[in-house]
Symmetry: C2
Subunit: 328 residues, 2 copies
């Protein structure tokens, strides 16, 4: 192999990738996401290079139990947003989604219905990062799509466990999808999923029980809580029938999202959420860094010596931990 | 209230409690465990005062699926150990155990069958600490029982999720209990529970299927893995019928534990486990301390300023995290 070839392999031209991404080159976007997702050595360089180009994207979260139709709704929203001429990114962090597959997909950006449309980037994320919940790489991938000039980024995740709280912390506007029947409304209430909704979407609204689901939601809103009214915003309830063929109700969902965006700006809540999101991200990275440093210590001579003193009864674990931290 | 009364309330005479514990006073033991369990301000003082008195106890872990008879086996082991004149401590970290109840029990040391026997301390721990898995306070409570002069401490925990790995890291000898039928052997294999066994106990061995369970275990051992033979120790398989009335097979279990203890000492594995245990404990405390410091930072002016710079695109989360760590 030629020296040039080796050099080309070793070095990643982050600047060129970012220029490519901003010009709509899907391969550059995919490569950048892979760099942040794999925590590659270039991660910090990528993060620094992205920073000046971020802050433009509107982030919309979609969450709900498996089977409520998250991915068809995502597809319908993408279609409508594209029709309005907007550049769209999709991050699918949902193990049940056909978009998904996480690491299996490698660094390919999938386009499905939108194949060949350079105004749409669709990316599946591994559903569980090593910090649990949303892949820790999701905020970084979001920043790549933001810097690549996406006007809107949709983050789709299944609403189980902690992920709905995390999506709410990532998104400007969080859609909670509910399907009629199956006592889904009650389940949602139990799971705390209602608390994260900025807009409720009762999908499959052509089914029996849709009216009851809407009534259940209204009743639960009447009981109070953040989903009832937070600083002047009462989450509206939309009805949709989203499938590969029909987009019924999607325009209303987009109108409600736009209303919410205006409210976020006028109330100052948008700024607050963006700051909170950045602060959480900084903290998570700092904690992961500390954990990494601890990992370096694991099995080290220093730790072995401290452990030996504890075993011998010459020290106790708390004093030893303090001494370990002093050495970090 | 008199000044003396107030002073008496405020200060905890750790030295007196440790003297009391070493003389077999159950109240002192209970109070010390509460101090370490609640992460009281006196925690560090207690840990330091305990250190010179620790290292004497043999720690035996018991784990297994719900319903295999962990608590009856524990009771039978306590009975046999007491008959041999040994001081015994029990830490029950099992939500399904009648010993359990965690925080609900407050600081009472329960004695159940052994009420009035000052040679037995039984303590229930909250089953889930805020670090997940075994209560983080368990190692500290173990140190209290060790310092109080227990010859043997039995740590009982239900074998689900991570807890069996944690118990193995706490114990000198880990008993894995299995009951016949229910495909329990296979379940155990899936759960990775076999890997932590130093001694297998097939309990309820009078039931149909006990022979099959023993054969299943032998077969799985033949397939290899740590449970097959680790550094010369091949985990033996004992059969017991432990209930409130019968102790069949318990003497053999104790004999196997004693054999394992001798092997631990002669092979050096005992020293290795003790060091590893202390190292893990030190790391866990150090990480919790760091997390605490991060918590202090949350919502601070410094973090807000860093988040503001990230939102403005003037910095990126990685650089901001480094700056945050510099300020810790």
């Amino acid at each position: 192999m030629s020296p040039a070839g080796r050099r080309g392999r070793r070095a990643t031209d982050v600047g060129a990738l970012i220029r490519g991404a901003r010009e709509g080159d899907a391969r550059s976007v995919a490569r950048l996401i892979s760099l942040v997702e794999d925590a590659s050595p270039a991660l910090r360089e990528v993060a620094a290079a992205l920073a000046p180009h971020t802050g433009g994207a509107q982030v919309i979260g979609l969450t709900g139990s498996p089977g409520v139709g998250k991915s068809t709704t995502t597809t319908a929203l993408v279609r409508a947003l594209r029709a309005a001429g907007r550049r769209v990114g999709v991050l699918a962090v949902d193990p049940s989604s056909p978009f998904s597959g996480g690491a299996l997909l490698g660094d390919r950006v999938r386009m499905q219905d939108h194949a060949g449309d350079s105004g749409v980037f669709i990316r599946s994320m591994a559903s569980r990062g090593h910090l649990g919940g949303l892949s820790w790489a999701t905020p970084q991938a979001l920043r790549v799509l933001d810097a690549a000039g996406c006007d809107v980024v949709l983050v789709e995740t299944v609403g189980v466990g902690q992920s709905e709280l995390e999506i709410a912390s990532l998104a400007d506007t969080t859609l909670v999808l509910i399907a009629p029947g199956m006592g889904d409304g009650i389940q949602a209430a139990k799971a705390g999923i209602l608390e994260v909704a900025d807009v409720f979407v009762v999908n499959k609204a052509d089914r029996d029980g849709a009216d009851q689901t809407v009534r259940d939601l209204r009743y639960m809103q009447s009981l109070g809580g953040r989903h009832s009214e937070a600083g002047g915003w009462r989450p509206p309830i939309c009805r949709t029938v989203a499938s590969r063929e029909t987009d019924n109700g999607i325009d209303e969902v987009l109108a409600r999202i736009e209303q919410h965006r205006e409210w976020l700006e006028s109330s100052g809540e948008g700024d607050r959420r963006r700051s909170e999101r950045a602060a959480r991200e900084i903290e998570a990275i700092a904690l992961a860094t500390l954990r990494g440093r601890m990992g370096d210590v694991h099995g080290s001579a220093a730790l072995d010596a401290l452990a030996g003193r504890v075993v011998a009864g010459e020290s106790d674990p708390y004093r030893a931990a303090d001494e370990l931290l002093d050495q970090l």
